[in-house]
């Protein structure tokens, strides 16, 4: 419904804000094709040279592989913990449930440095050596919140009578879970997995503290940034951007299938429930 439509100034202002949001990314992509290097105006000698450099850069590719492994472990971990957490928040009552809910959701709103530091101290305290494993543990733990909110949202749409029917017909809880509950939550779980994967691939604040000898991709980029900027970093950033864009669009498609615009981030703070 359109109310209060008058003048175009609001539309013009919004266009400016969109420009503010997208211009830096556009510039970044444009300069990945810039021959002489990052900066200089106008861009000139457009070339694919930097992408060629990037594809021959073994350090970058091994860090990509590390990031993919970390992200896959984080996805599995966050789902293994986050899914039962959503079921628990939806279906059980126990003392400390409110605290439990807050704890699960906290890493999403807390600055990454606090999550990263407290996990670092936990690792050192318990004599756990820092490596890709600790990064994966950290990502998995911090992103439980995403799995929980997504699955919880899925549970709200789900008709519990199906489970009742299954139990009445003699299936046990385990069978009911595998044959009724999980298939019904399939879309939420796939959506959560995509989101967790993307967020983990991009994550830097928590990884910064938990890194051992091997870098993830964002940390590798970070260490190169300190040595100076080359369009190679623009090239890899462009690829990351396109990759995130692609996964987010798929996630959004899954998420909005038959569902109103109820957003993850908004629901965390706004509602009583995640």
């Amino acid at each position: 419904m359109n109310v209060q439509r008058r003048g175009g100034w609001l539309a013009a202002y919004s266009a400016l804000v969109f420009a503010f949001l997208y211009l830096p990314i556009a510039v970044l992509i444009l300069y990945s094709f810039n021959g002489p290097g990052v900066g200089g105006f106008p861009p000139r000698d457009l070339t694919l040279h930097w992408y060629r450099v990037l594809f021959e850069d073994e350090a970058i590719w091994s860090s990509v592989l590390n990031s993919v492994m970390v992200a896959l472990v984080a996805v599995v971990l966050a789902l293994l913990i986050g899914t039962p957490a959503a079921l628990a928040l939806d279906r059980t009552n126990f003392p400390g449930k409110a605290l439990f809910r807050r704890l699960v959701l906290l890493p999403l709103i807390l600055p990454g440095i606090i999550t990263g530091l407290s996990l670092l101290m936990l690792c050192v305290f318990s004599g756990f050596e820092l490596s890709l494993v600790t990064i994966a543990l950290g990502h998995g733990t911090a992103l439980i919140a995403v799995a929980t909110t997504e699955v919880f949202a899925g549970l709200q749409k789900f008709d519990r009578r199906q489970e009742e029917a299954s139990l009445d017909l003699g299936a046990n809880y385990w069978q009911t879970f595998w044959r009724i509950t999980l298939p019904n939550l399939k879309l939420s779980i796939i959506g959560a997995a995509l989101l967790i994967f993307t967020l983990s691939m991009d994550e830097i604040a928590v990884s910064f503290f938990l890194v051992g000898r091997e870098n993830t991709l964002p940390l590798e980029i970070w260490s190169r940034l300190r040595r100076g900027m080359t369009p190679e970093i623009n090239a890899v950033s462009t690829i990351i951007f396109l990759f995130s864009l692609f996964t987010i669009i798929i996630w959004y498609r899954i998420r909005t299938r038959g569902q109103a615009q109820e957003m993850l981030a908004a629901s965390i703070i706004q509602g009583e429930n995640p």
């Binding site: 359109n2 990052v38 989101l195 940034l225 981030a265």
Partner: protein, 280 residues
């Protein structure tokens, strides 16, 4: 309808994990903040020295104050950018869904990519400076652009505006349209309708958006390292250096704990405010 066994099965694993890796981790952070470093080793004896140092050292208070100022500015700018757009998308735009998606895409797009983009734009031979020279607006590079609190504010505003947009948009979407119509039918001018009906009803979203922007930018340490320079140092950078070269984990833990307490207190306060202003 769920048996006791079922409930235990879904509750116990996440409860165990969260207790160990989140609650216990925060407890260890808490404990460290009362310890000290002696001869390059962490001495596990109770002391309040770290907190005393924070309270009396002008450096820490000054940087904390600056961080809050930067976070406050970012919050204000993010609201000023996000609210009109959210209003436009919710009430006037024709391609509502598309515009909404266009805003949330940057939200999930790599933090590092976005911060790095600003570095390439603001640098002394960066895109902005060379464009200005190309257009003969300036003759030499304007060095004040990069490595300043201004650059930090700009970068963080760019990163956290979508965070502010989301809850504002959600609350605007929940404004009952018949109330808006009633206000118009009763003769209120558009601005009056906005001020008396729409704005008050969207306050919970504004509060939530402001909280996101403030908390996340307050704790940021990567943007200051990337574009901030010495004058753009924020409180988290001090923590990072205490955990790195300076090797004073207990002091770093104490500062982090102050941040954690500040953030949690803010979350509680804003949650109460939101409830107070919510429509139901």
């Amino acid at each position: 309808m769920y048996s006791k066994g079922y409930k235990v099965a879904v509750t116990a694993p996440p409860l165990f994990w969260v207790t160990l890796f989140l609650l216990f981790a925060y407890v260890i952070l808490f404990a460290h903040s009362f310890w000290s470093v002696r001869d390059g080793q962490i001495a596990r004896e109770f002391t309040l020295a770290n907190y005393k140092q924070i309270a009396t050292s002008p450096l820490y208070l000054q940087v904390l104050f600056r961080s809050m100022k930067i976070a406050g500015t970012v919050t204000l700018l993010a609201l000023l950018l996000a609210y009109p757009v959210a209003y436009y998308v919710s009430f006037q735009a024709r391609h509502k869904n598309l515009l909404y998606q266009l805003i949330i895409v940057p939200l999930w797009v790599s933090y590092l990519v976005r911060a790095y983009a600003w570095k390439t734009i603001l640098g002394s031979d960066g895109v902005l400076n060379t464009s200005l020279q190309f257009l003969h607006v300036t003759h030499g590079p304007v060095s004040a652009l990069l490595y300043s609190p201004f650059a930090v504010v700009l970068t963080l505003t760019h990163i956290y505006t979508p965070f502010a947009f989301l809850p504002i948009f959600a609350s605007l979407e929940h404004v009952p349209r018949n109330l808006v119509e009633a206000s118009q039918d009763l003769g209120a001018a558009p601005l009056q309708t906005f001020r008396r009906v729409i704005l008050p009803l969207s306050l919970p979203g504004v509060i939530a958006g402001a909280t996101f922007a403030f908390v996340l930018s307050l704790g940021d340490f990567l943007a200051p390292l990337l574009v901030g320079g010495p004058s753009g140092i924020m409180i988290s950078n001090i923590v990072v250096s205490l955990f790195g070269a300076a090797y004073d984990w207990p002091l770093g833990a104490a500062i982090s704990l102050c941040m954690l307490v500040l953030v949690v207190a803010l979350l509680f306060a804003t949650e109460r405010l939101e409830k107070r202003y919510s429509y139901q």
